[in-house]
Structures are given as C-alpha cells and as structure tokens.
Amino acid sequence: MDKNKDIETNDILGDVTNNEYKYGFTTDIETDIIPRGLNEDVVRFISAKKGEPEWLLEFRLKAFRHWLTLTPPKWAHLDIPEIDFQAISYYAAPRKKEGPKSMDEVDPQLIDTFNKLGIPLEEQKVLSGMAVDAVMDSVSVKTTHREKLAELGVIFCSISEAVKDYPDLVKRYLGSVVSYRDNFYAALNSAVFSDGSFVYIPKGVRCPMELSTYFRINASGTGQFERTLIVADDDAYVSYLEGCTAPMRDENQLHAAIVEIVVEERAEVKYSTVQNWYAGDKEGRGGVYNFVTKRGLCRGDYSKLSWTQVETGSAITWKYPSCILAGEGAVGEFYSVAVTNNYQQADTGTKMIHTGRNTRSTIVSKGISAGHSQNSYRGLVKVAPKADGCRNYTQCDSLLLSSTCGAHTFPYIDVLNDTAIVEHEATTSKISEDQIFYCNQRGIPTEEAVGLIVNGYAKEVMNKLPMEFAVEAQKLLQITLEGSVG
C-alpha cells in the first residue's frame, strides 16, 4: 500500500470543520467582458480579439452555424432548466496591462487569486515536479515551467499561444477527436472557445513533471468554454491534471469544455480531474452547469489512455470522458468517483469504443449520493465487428446516503464480435449501518464515520490520482458530504 496516500483522516476533518465552499470568493479585478448574447459577430469578435488566423475563424463559424441547427440533448437523467444562451457573455478576460513577459508583470491581484486557491504561479514557489497553466474566466493567465519543458521539446502553453506559435500542430489535431458536429455543447465550444491548454509531447519523451491546468470562473454572467488539446507522440508519456473552482453566485454559470487527446504508438496519457466547480447552495440555488465533452483517441498500437476523475462540484454534471481504442492492443481506463449532495445532479460515465484488435478497457465507477441529489452512471462499451480479442471489465457501485437521493446505472453494452469478453457488474446499496455502528462504538461520530467509510469505498479510484491531487480529492469528498447525515 502506498503509505503517502493513506491520509490522516483526522487532520483532514480538522481542516474542514465549518467548511462550506472555500473557493467561493470573487476577485475584484478589471475584466474585459463583451455584452451578453451570441451571434456571428460575437464569434468574429472572439477570433479577432485573439488575433486568430483565417482558418480558425472559419472553423468557429462552421461550428456556430451547425450549432444553430441543434437543440440541447435531453437523454441524460438530468433535470436541466432551460438555458438562455443569449443571456451569457461569451468572452471575459482579466484586463492585461500590455502582455506580461515575466512574472513581475502579471497583475498582482491575479497572482493573489491563484495563491488563495493554493496555486502559486511564481515558479520558485511552485511545487517541484508540477507545471501549471492557470486559466481565469476565458483566458490563460500564466503557464509555469515553460522553458524547462521546452528543453525536452515538450510544448505546454495556452491554446491561444499554440495557435500563434505552432499553427501546424494545432491545425492538424484540433477537432480531430471531437468534431464540432459531435453534440450541442461541442458545437458551442468550437464556436466560442476562448482558451485552454495545449500539450505536445514529442516522440520518446517522458514528461518529467505533472502538467496541470487550473480553471477558475471569476466574472459573473459569463460562461467558460475552454479547450484542451493533448498530443502524445510515439513512446511519449505525460500525466496531466485538471482542477477547477468558481465563486459562489446565485445564478447558474455555464461551463462547456472540450478535451481532445491523441495518443500515438506505445504512448501513454494519464488525465486526472478534480472537479470542484461551485455546486450551488443547500437549497440548490446557483452553481455551475458542467457540460463537458472529453475524448481520447488511442490511435497508435499499444497506446494507453487513463482517465481518473473525482467529481464533487457543479450543480449539474454531464460528462463522459471516453476512449476510442483504435490501435492494436490499446488500453483505455476510466476511474471515477462522483459525489452529489443537496440538489446536485450528475450524469457521468464513459465510452469505451473498441475498434482495434486485442484492445482492453477497465471501468471503475463509484457513485455516492446524498441529500436530494441524483447521481447516474451512464456508459457505453462497444466492440466493433472486426475487433478480435477485446476485453472489458466494468464495475459500477453506488452508495446511497439518504432516502431522498437517487442512484442510477445506465450501461450500454454492444458486442459485435464473438471473441470479445465483456463483463459488467453493478451494485447499489446503502451505507452499512453495521460499519457506522462499529465506528460509533469506537467513539467516532457518525459524520466522521461516513467520511471514513466513503473514503474507503472510493479508495480504489483515489489511488489512481497523483499524490498531491489525492490529498485534495479526499478532503473534497469529506466537505461535499458534510451535513449529509442525520
């Protein structure tokens, strides 16, 4: 057992007493916001503001025109209030004082904001072994460790910069895994995406540090539409982390991101998310709508993509990080913990599309529902007719902490090849009263006991997270479930 991950629960509990949503502050910072509403002019404005080349504007406009023909998807087990897409501002940026070239030039208030979030942007303070790209509202404010990474040929920058500095790479891969035609929110994102991270790991390079992007929605009345593109060339390896928070606001904020990952031969990408957008208050007011399309293409033979997510925030979550296993012997993994409390709703899971021979996938999903929340696992495992020798194992467990919440499981299993072995197991149960009583008898109060048991229950997934994240994620579980018992 990895001792480091065996976290001292009592310390955490000490940390989190009286904790509601500690990231719920706003930063009073000068922001450029365009008026609410969406039309072709807005798309052109965003593109012009970012000084984009013609092809990217075309890409955006095509996506926008396609988006106009679509309606929001209704199939998820979610109760989504009508969203007025014209009431959202599609571009907000911290006002820069003429392009900061070094840390000294970055607005000190911005640095403060990220320091409060525990994300130091000053490189000397940055945890060694982790490079950070910080995205506030729509714009990447600072990427650390760029020079060091550049020595290895690793590109880690905001996608806006990548468009300027590496147009060929971006042009080749952007939209190659998630087409703008993919779904309603993918089309919307393709039209108005503002910023996000770009990662390119060249052939044979193992990225020596964790790459991390920290997303922050700050301005009110805005949506966040970031776009992440990660390419791991042959034999490359990278571990990428994503964290997100937002201020507490009574209104709902829309977050519709796209993450695209391309994994070439024998390359490996680990993508970890700790999603902690503001979830709304106890009565279900406010909170972020988190409608995200994440997909990786394991194009190369023996490539590997591993998704790990800890979902604790957002009023509504709609996301299915997926793997297209196209290369021979490619491996896809999905490890998920989704916690919902109060009036949160989550419909999340994965798709494992086996189109290559001898591809393997593993899905482990742990849902925890409390309060009046609704928590669904939705997943697809598909084995294409020519994909011989594929294996999938899926396990999804749901834990119920209240009599007013819901836990649902919707797996879709399509096997079109007779050499495949596909297994799915799911259980739903209440938190064990015997376990709680046992803890009580040893003097552990019920609320703490629940935290302990839930953390144990989620451990299989938590252990997949990089260490710094595991600590944060474990705290988050505890906080999210506070007040859920009794």
Binding site: H77, L400, F410, P411, I413, D418, T427, I431
Partner: protein, 456 residues
C-alpha cells in the same frame, strides 16, 4: 412512414364488423384507443427503448387481419410440438386469435375458476371482464392501443379468491393461414386474493412458409397473497414476428414467477412491465433465448418497486449463433418509499459465431437508500478450459459445446417450478442445440463447424 395508418384505416372501414365479432367490454375501449392512435406512432429505432427493434417496421408489412373471424382450419396435432409427457394440463388452444376449448378442458375447472375465450367471457361474464380488461395495460402506450383497437378475442384466466388450481393450465397459440396474417391477441389473467395458478403458454406456427405477425397484450392482476407462475415458450418460425407486452400488477404478498423462452422465431420482442404495488411481494422474471440464422430476440424488462419489503430477481441468458442478434434491456426502479427492496438482475450471453451480436443495457434507477440492488451482464464465449477438459476425456468438440450450452441454460430451466415441465424444457433446449434428431452438422446452435481450434 407511420405503419399505424393501415390499421386505423382497416378499423375505420370495418368498425361494425370488428365490434360484431367481439363483445361489448372489448368494444368499449376501442374509441379511446383510436383517439390515442390518431396522434401516436409505433415506436421505432429512434426511441431509446426500441433502438434495436422497430415496432413500426415490424407492423409495416401488409398483413391480413381476420376481423370477420372466418374459421381457419388447423391441424393441431402437426403443429403442436410441445406435448409435455408426465404432465397433465388443462389445455386451451388459440388459432391465430380465436380461442378454442378442448375436451381436456371441458368441465374440468371447478370452484368458479375460468379458462375460456375472452370474447365468450366478455359476453357471459361482462361485469368481470369489464372490471379488469384494460386495467393494467395503459392505453397511452401506442402498441397497447393498437392491440386494443383490433383485439376481438384471446383468453381469460380467472381464479376466484382462495382457489388453488391443482393442474397447470396450458394455452397453445397456433398460427394458421393461407396468406400473411396478423393476429391481435389478448390474454387476461386475474388471480383473486390467495388464489394460485400455473400457466404454460406456447407459440407455434402451422407452417413455416407464411408470414405471421402476433401482437399480444397480456394483463395480469395478482391479488393479495396469490401465487402465479407463467412459462411462455416461443417455438414459431423464421417468418414470424412477435410483439408481446405483458403488464403485471402485484398486490401485497403475491408471488409471481415468469419465464420467457425463445427457442425459434423470426423477430421477437417481449416487454415485461411489472408493477410491484403491494408490500412483501416476490417476483421472479427469467428468460432465455437460443438464436440461430438471422433470428432477432429482444427482451425488455421493467420492474417497478413501489412498495416495501419486496424481492425481485431477473435472469436472462442468450446463446447467439450465425448472424442472429440478441437484445436485452432491463431496468429496476425503486421508488421513493420502497424501502427494504432487494432487486437483482443478471444477463449472461454467449456469442457462438463471428456474425452474432448482442446489445445489452441493464439499468438501475434507485430513489431510496434502504435497498440492495445489483445487476451484472457478461458477453463472452464458452469456457475454453472446460471445453478442453471435456475433450481430453474423449467428448467430441461438438458434443462438448452442446453440453456446455445446455449447462449454461440450466439455472433458467431449473427455475421452472411446474412438475415435469423443467425436464421437458431441458429436452427442448437440448434438441434445439443439437438441431433435432435428423439435423445436419451446421443446423444446430452448437456452432462448432468442425473447427478444432478453440478460440481463446
């Protein structure tokens, strides 16, 4: 294309004939059904629950409907393949959709129990039929509405309070027609409190060269502490399409056991919709499908746990050969307040050939915390190790495969509690896997094709 149109037109043109050849309690619901149908469509593959089986397409071909109830001759003996030795049943026969009583049935039921033509019952016991007909199957469902619009007969099984039938009932449905035919059948099963019954239903076709379509709606009311077992075996032909919808309502303490087995058929879709309304109920819903050639079998289940302390289990198993297609979508819903529910579901499938395919979608929807629910689904092949073990003992690959497939179905077969029937079912399944006594190699569902290499 809306395939309802032709049926609505048929009805509007022949309204009087349809009514004349049926009975008032059945006729009474037709107007409402028509109203529903005028703004409805039969579900097609764009509907979530019908992704792989389009009812709209199934009902699209031009079938005849015997609305004036011409007596079509049938050679019962030749198509009646499921005589069950060691088991004496009270036998009723439905030819297409007309119920015919048999000598084994006449006068054998006592204590007020009924097993008879629904049309006759609707005339003789109008009040009884009126009370229950259409009370469980919702007319808002377009397929139910269509069946209600055109159903003229079928069977009624009624067991009064406290009566426990000593012999199983058997209903044999036989299709017989010189031209393509659609039959709209209705089966109404009512068990009053503390009643008990067992029913074996089997579907056959007189010939395998005619196109048949069966639309069947089964309504089941299981009274307090009643006990009901239904075994439904389809042994039709590759040119037969079947859409059967069973709606069950369980009252307190009732025990309902259902087995749906598809041995032969063309396109089959079975819906099982069980509302466990009462407390302390027990529900068992099992099924199996053995598919070869281009057979298509789709079982859709829904168990709604609406009350406390109920227990349900579901187990469906498929063996798919050739280019056949299997679909299973099953869901368990536990409503708020349905505490202490235990619900289990399992779906296990074997793909026996390269072109066979399986789509499965087990679902749990749970709105209560005091529950124990689980589901599992697997799709794979026969155990290669077991196959090798058997071959080292001298058993041919073909026979080993047959034995393993048979063994795979054992728990579904053993769950049948009607004396003598599980043995018979075991035999039928064995025959099916072996392809019958005169079968050529390749006819059966064992699918070894003389291949000596075991796939790993």
């Amino acid at each position: 294309m809306n395939s309802l149109k032709q049926y609505i037109e048929l009805y509007l043109e022949n309204r009087a004939t349809v009514d004349e050849n049926s009975a008032a309690p059945l006729n009474k619901l037709r107007a409402e059904a028509l109203e529903v149908l005028e703004r409805a469509q039969l579900p097609d593959s764009s509907c979530e629950d019908f992704e792989h089986t389009s009812i709209n397409d199934m009902f699209a071909p031009d079938y005849g409907v015997n609305i004036s109830r011409v007596n079509i001759p049938v050679d019962v003996a030749s198509s009646f393949k499921c005589g069950v030795p060691n088991m004496s049943t009270l036998l009723g026969i439905t030819v297409n959709d007309s119920f015919r009583s048999t000598s084994t049935l006449q006068g054998k039921l006592t204590d007020g129990a009924l097993f008879m033509s629904l049309r006759a019952a609707a005339r003789e016991k109008a009040e009884l039929v009126e009370r229950y007909y259409g009370s469980v199957a919702p007319l808002s469902n377009a397929s139910v509405a269509l069946n209600t619009l055109l159903a003229q007969d079928g069977a009624l099984i009624y067991v009064p309070r406290g009566v426990q039938l000593s012999k199983p009932l058997q209903l044999v449905n036989i299709f017989s027609s010189p031209a393509p035919l659609a039959a709209f059948r209705r089966l109404l099963i009512v068990l009053e409190d503390d009643a008990a019954a067992q029913l074996l239903v089997c579907d056959h076709t007189q010939d395998s060269a005619t196109d048949y379509l069966s639309s069947q709606v089964v309504e089941v009311v299981a009274g307090r502490n009643s006990s009901l077992e239904i075994i439904d075996i389809e042994e039709s032909s590759s040119r037969t399409s079947r859409y059967s919808q069973m709606f069950v309502r369980q009252h307190d303490g009732s025990n309902v056991r259902i087995n749906g087995t598809t041995l032969y058929g063309g396109i089959t879709r079975n819906d099982y919709h069980i509302d466990v309304s009462g407390a302390h109920c027990s529900t068992t819903l099992n099924g199996m499908a053995i598919c070869s050639a281009s057979q298509h079998t789709d079982n859709h289940t829904r168990i709604n746990h609406l009350s406390q302390h109920c227990h349900s289990t579901q187990m469906f198993k498929y063996v798919l050969d050739d280019d056949s297609k299997g679909v299973f979508s099953g869901s368990i819903l536990v409503a708020p307040g349905a505490s202490f529910t235990e619900a289990y579901q399992s779906n296990r499938n074997i793909l026996a050939s390269t072109d066979a395919r399986m789509h499965t979608k087990p679902q749990l929807e749970i709105y209560n915390d005091d529950v124990k629910c689980s589901h599992g689904a697997t799709t794979g092949q026969l155990d290669a190790e077991a196959l090798f073990y058997m071959r080292t003992r001298g058993i041919t690959e073909h026979e080993a495969r047959t034995m393993l497939m048979q063994a795979f179905m054992t728990d579904v077969i053993d769950s049948v509690h009607i004396d003598g029937l599980s043995d018979r079912l075991r035999h039928l399944v064995e025959l099916r896997f072996k392809g019958g006594p005169d079968a050529l190699c390749g006819d059966c569902a064992a699918s070894c094709r003389g291949e000596s290499v075991v796939k790993q």
